[in-house]
Amino acid sequence: MTDAVSSRTNPDIGGEVTKLGAKPYPAELECDIVTVTGVKLHMRPIRPDDAQSLVNFHLLLSSGSIYRRYFAVHPELSPKEVEHLTTVDYADRFAYIIEDGEELVAVGRYDRIPKTTDAEVAFLVTDHYQHHGIGILLLWHLARAARPNGITHFVAETQADNRGMLGVFRDSGYPLTTSIEDEIVSLRFPIQSTEQSHAHFLRRTTLFEPAEPDDGESS
């Protein structure tokens, strides 16, 4: 079994172009995903009322996972941080959460770098669901959400020995530009759908898409 997940929608097909700025909650971006182990999870954009779930999620993370994400001890989220992380404009700042029933098990987000068409992207997945390919799915879906908002590139930083995270970017199909300094790998890549990223998505869809009928969003 490979380390991957599948989505019921194809994020690399693109989305409707909408105007920049704050938007209402984009319910149309909600979808179900299925891990390679057959676990069905729900993915949706974050909302302000996810605050308590996000606090609980952070408390459940291992110390190593927190360090990988924040490069810091960061033992708990402050109320100010929670508000910042859950209140997004769905344009310049966007976050997806993944739920297993009522429990939040992963968060992925992008934040536009002001006055540029770049956005910083980051993921955090509970230890239990790491190496299930959830990160790559978050990346594709975040790219899909970002493109209509004028974002053309994602940037990210990760530790040089964080093979799991580096593998997500490598396997995404996006053409990466990387540099390394002080054991930190900096990545930048265009997020338009490419033949390669589309092929990577379809390969996973073929392997892991659940047998039930498609919901019509994917190609």
Binding site: S63, Y67, Y70, F71, A72, V73, H74, P75, S78, E183
Partner: protein, 343 residues
């Protein structure tokens, strides 16, 4: 055997509500001392604030000025983890001076065990930067005082986080042997086994990273197989311990799986390298579960003082034995490459 501890300093002014590095930690550590019922065998030395000349041995003067000014302007967040308040500058200087006062008393007596029970902690503080809850590097200030009078100082750092500040400060100092056990991966990200010291001090840094879940038997294996030969060769005249207790299995900040009984055994290990009585002092670093901190402080000091608190049993059976072996190999290769490069 007498326990020599720094005198009481009111540390309540260094607090950020909700932050885990909080005044209750020091109260818990001191409760661990009280549990030993030492009576007349407990000596509290007077509080001492480190002087500028003592601090600049390990910190840049401009950093000290900036930190002091930051505090007197009201303080705030220095980074994602580290805070300072109006009172922090004064308290940090007392924390940095506490070890100096303790070793001064020990040198006069030629006896005793030192316990530097202070906060804020110190081992992440770099020459020019606060980091990881730490403002001034308390143990480094004391080690630098000792080396200034010709001593050879072994620092054993069993805090669950790597003491990057201490390592960096003494990276090129052949008179300080820095040995660290710590969880990996974990903040601050340094402490790989191939980090073995600078060209002037090759081998004087020993890093023993361990995976989450590692138990006391694995730590002891790492110390016995990799650290002990290096310490024997170094021949320390003083032993200082960065005694964080956040590797305890109950600690919320990390995922090693030690018990208080393991800290007793590690204290005994450290003391076995002290060449004479009155040559070992423990410095409080991390430890964020108050009950575990209390019991572990009691266990570690009890082991050195001949007291026998009801410790939890030492732990065993966790992962990491293969990591100990690969770490040792990585260290040997790094030393060989560095030696060849320096020829």
């Amino acid at each position: 055997m007498m326990l020599i501890i720094n005198g009481s300093t009111d540390d309540a002014g260094h607090e950020d509500p909700g932050h885990p590095e909080r005044p209750e930690r020091l109260a818990a550590a001191l409760a661990g001392v009280e549990d030993l019922h030492l009576g007349d065998d407990l000596l509290a030395v007077a509080p001492y604030s480190a002087t500028r000349s003592e601090l600049v041995r390990v910190h840049e003067s401009t950093y000290l000025d900036q930190l002091g000014a930051f505090c007197y302007e009201g303080g705030g967040d220095l980074d994602a983890d580290t805070y300072a308040t109006y009172d922090s500058w004064s308290l940090a200087q007392y924390a940095a001076g506490a070890g100096l006062a303790v070793i001064k008393e020990m040198r006069i007596r030629g006896d005793g065990v030192g316990f530097v029970a202070v906060r804020p902690p110190g081992h992440h503080a770099l020459r020019d930067r606060a980091m990881g809850f730490c403002l001034l590097n308390n143990i480094a200030v004391t080690a630098a005082e000792l080396t200034s009078v010709g001593e050879r100082v072994l620092i054993i750092d069993w805090d669950v986080h790597h003491g990057n500040g201490t390592q960096a400060i003494f990276w090129e100092d052949p008179n300080v042997l820095y040995v660290s056990t710590h969880q990996w991966p974990l903040f601050p990200g340094s402490g790989a086994p191939f980090e073995v010291g600078g060209l002037n001090a090759l081998g004087a840094t020993v890093n023993l990273p361990l995976p989450p879940g590692a138990t006391g038997d694995v730590l002891r294996q790492a110390l016995d197989e990799t650290a002990a030969p290096a310490i024997d060769a170094f021949k320390p005249t003083w032993v200082l311990v960065s005694a964080g207790f956040d590797a305890h299995r109950a600690d919320p900040m990390a995922d090693l799986a030690l018990s208080s009984g393991d800290f007793a055994q590690m204290a005994t290990f450290a003391a076995s390298f002290a060449p004479a009585p009155g040559r070992i002092a423990l410095f409080l670093e991390g430890g964020y579960d108050l009950a575990a901190l209390r019991s572990s402080v009691g266990a570690a000091l009890g082991a050195l003082l001949g007291s026998d608190p009801a410790n939890e049993r030492p732990t065993s059976g966790g992962p990491g034995a293969e990591v100990v072996r690969s770490n040792r190999d990585a260290r040997e290769i790094a030393l060989r490459i560095a030696h060849d490069a320096s020829q």
